[in-house]
């Protein structure tokens, strides 16, 4: 499955990229799987995603609070810290 990943705020800075398109392994089915897979992609990824409670996820521009949600059908998945707007 090919999907576009987006990064914001200090996650974007630490990973040094705003977005990327990746091919996910077939074993990555849920948001939780995806967060675990990110940890395997090198030192900076491991550093960012090891405290995965502070990483918020949105699939197709919608918040996903439950890490058990399936990512099937996602075309855009974003990773960001807690929001500080307003």
């Amino acid at each position: 499955m090919s999907v576009k990943l987006l990064y914001f705020s200090w996650i974007r800075e630490r990973l040094d990229r705003t977005d990327e398109t990746v091919e996910l392994p077939q074993t990555v089915l849920t948001v939780g799987d995806l967060l675990n897979w990110q940890k395997t992609r090198g030192e900076e990824f491991e550093n960012v995603f090891q405290h995965d409670k502070v990483v918020r996820v949105a699939i197709n521009q919608e918040h996903v609070d439950d890490r058990g949600v399936k990512i099937e059908g996602a075309h855009e998945i974003a990773f960001f810290p807690p929001m500080t707007g307003g």
């Binding site: 521009q61 918040h63 960001f80 807690p82 929001m83 500080t84 707007g85 307003g86």
Partner: protein
């Protein structure tokens, strides 16, 4: 009649007066208008500017969704929400929320609710630019903001 919230994500400043007029003009059944504007504070004189990053595709959709919930819940006659991005100096506007209703408590509650959600669910992130030239402190999210959200459940 379906009420459509007026949502804008923009770099430019806004005029409270013009936005209130836009929302209330020719609506003679509106009795109460509450506006909230959020301004950039100077943090005791140490701040040069805030830089607001956002997730464009998500920001408008998310604020619209929340605004539509508020319209239904308090039978509002109108909602405007404008959130700025980019560099914002102390004293400048960051965000504007307006709620219009026949009665005052609905207007207060609608605007208050929308702000609580904006703070914690709208995809914006603030970075501080210090007067001393330092760049890079991302503003931390506050637990108090998450707590504020819970009272609307």
């Amino acid at each position: 009649m379906t009420i459509t919230p007026d949502i804008r994500i923009q770099a430019e400043d806004f005029s409270i007066e013009a936005e209130v007029k836009k929302l209330t003009e020719d609506h003679f059944d509106i009795g109460a208008v509450v506006t909230f504007s959020g301004l950039c504070r100077d943090e005791g004189g140490t701040l040069n500017a805030l830089e607001l990053e956002h997730y464009p595709a998500m920001a408008e959709t998310e604020i619209r969704r929340i605004a539509e919930t508020a319209i239904k819940r308090w039978s509002l006659q109108g909602i405007t929400a404008i959130h700025r991005y980019g560099k914002i100096a102390p004293g400048e506007n960051i965000v504007l929320v307006i709620a219009a209703s026949p009665h005052r408590q609905a207007a207060f509650d609608g605007a208050n609710f929308l702000m609580d959600f904006l703070k914690t669910r709208a995809p914006f992130w603030k970075k501080e630019h210090g007067k001393d030239g330092t760049i890079g402190n991302w503003v931390d999210a506050k637990d108090a903001d998450d707590d504020a959200l819970k009272r609307w459940e």
